[in-house]
Symmetry: C2
Subunit: 121 residues, 2 copies
């Protein structure tokens, strides 16, 4: 399971791909939770998101997020640790992620954005 997971370089990150990722409720919830726990834990594992959907469906969304350049995934043992590519996103699209996250936070209830519980690493 340690096949190389393809990540775009910073320069390869495209606006439409990012916007598309953030327009899907499940992916927005993933990014939202990733951002929310960013300072504390930094990275999260796939299993932390099982509240959102089934395993294989999540794998699909993770791949989209990774391929669009929103997050970075690294394999550690049997797990995968994921984190937001904040700096890359900020560099390519200044202010965009923050604006989206702030709006998401404000509308969290309305958007039914779940705040997940995370296992301690």
């Amino acid at each position: 399971m340690s096949r190389i997971l393809p990540h775009p370089t910073r320069e390869q990150i495209e606006l439409p791909g990012v916007m598309d990722c953030l327009s899907d409720p499940i992916r927005l919830a993933i990014v939202y939770n990733l951002a929310k726990r960013e300072k504390e834990v930094g990275e999260l594992r796939c299993g932390d998101f099982y509240g959102l959907s089934g395993k294989s469906n999540l794998a699909y969304h993770f791949a989209k997020l990774r391929e669009a350049g929103l997050m970075e995934t690294r394999a550690v043992g049997t797990a995968r640790l994921m984190k937001l590519r904040r700096e890359d996103l900020e560099s390519r699209f200044p202010g965009l992620l923050d604006a989206v996250l702030a709006s998401a936070e404000r509308d969290a209830e309305r958007l039914q954005l779940p705040v997940l519980e995370f296992t301690e690493a």
Copy 2:
């Protein structure tokens, strides 16, 4: 042709709908051009966008943009004049539209964002 075109109120504008609109190349091009000519002409007509796609396809995208709250459409004679709902968007999602437009401008070539020619009102 003057049936009432439904517009959401400011409060009804939802983040996913807006993001989804901006993730489509045609709709992004529409918004981009709308923003670009905003100061000069303010409003644009459907026909100004015929370079992007066919009439009926554009009508479909216009409806999406309108229903998502990105633009306002008013009927004037046989034409429709459209403009960005800048203030409403800024109020609901501060900084979002500007961040998207700035990134789109920077990547205009790469995204092949066409700058259309507009008929004088």
